[in-house]
Symmetry: C2
Subunit: 111 residues, 2 copies
Amino acid sequence: MPTPQTLDRTLTALADPTRRAILQRLSSGEARVTDVAQPFNMSLNAVSKHILVLERAKLVKRRKVGRDHYLSYRPEPLDAAAKWIAETRTFWASRLDALEQLLRDEDAANR
Amino acid sequence: MPTPQTLDRTLTALADPTRRAILQRLSSGEARVTDVAQPFNMSLNAVSKHILVLERAKLVKRRKVGRDHYLSYRPEPLDAAAKWIAETRTFWASRLDALEQLLRDEDAANR
DNA sequence: TTTACATTCAACCAACAGGTTGAATATATT
DNA sequence: AATATATTCAACCTGTTGGTTGAATGTAAA
């Protein structure tokens, strides 16, 4: 299970369409910072910052070759987040079953 | 599939431990704003703002009874987010299979 | 060795997030 | 009618986000 802070970083990184697009691009293979930035309608520096956020969340790894930085997609945090959400959903759903909810509603109505 | 903006809102809402704790609290049944705020070490107003974020993400629904506002947890956006992540992960993983990655690495090496 | 390229660093800015306090509003209770 | 409770609204503050531009750094190519 991811530590809360790890989860925060993963979800924050994913909660931005530019960063999701970067991940999608990298899912088809390594690319340099410039390559990743090319399709976006913003400065290279802006994309570089987004990449930093993804690195902090360990969704992207960097391999330096001379002046080029090759970026690659790392699926592990996504796996962990998906697992956390699925487990949490199950747990929460179990606390919302029909009978329990009915009893709580009655309790609330009688207050 | 959730619209990108919906996904943004869901992930943003989930990327905060206070808001996750609020959802957890509500997963065991309805509660009023004051009840939800009680355990937190912050002002009622701060919690009220967090609830607004959760409402915007449709993770919480509000039912007003007199001066009391009863809040309830809505799992649907969580389901949608989990589904999106799972599908995306599968899609991205399929583009990262061993052969394709090998070919791309050779291509990169020969540049 | 000069020039071009890939990238970050640094400073700045506007908008937003997350918190505060104080007042306003609406409803209950006495 | 007066008071207490539940909640939001409004203004404010501080720190962060997401963007910009310009300069610095390191490496490759002419």
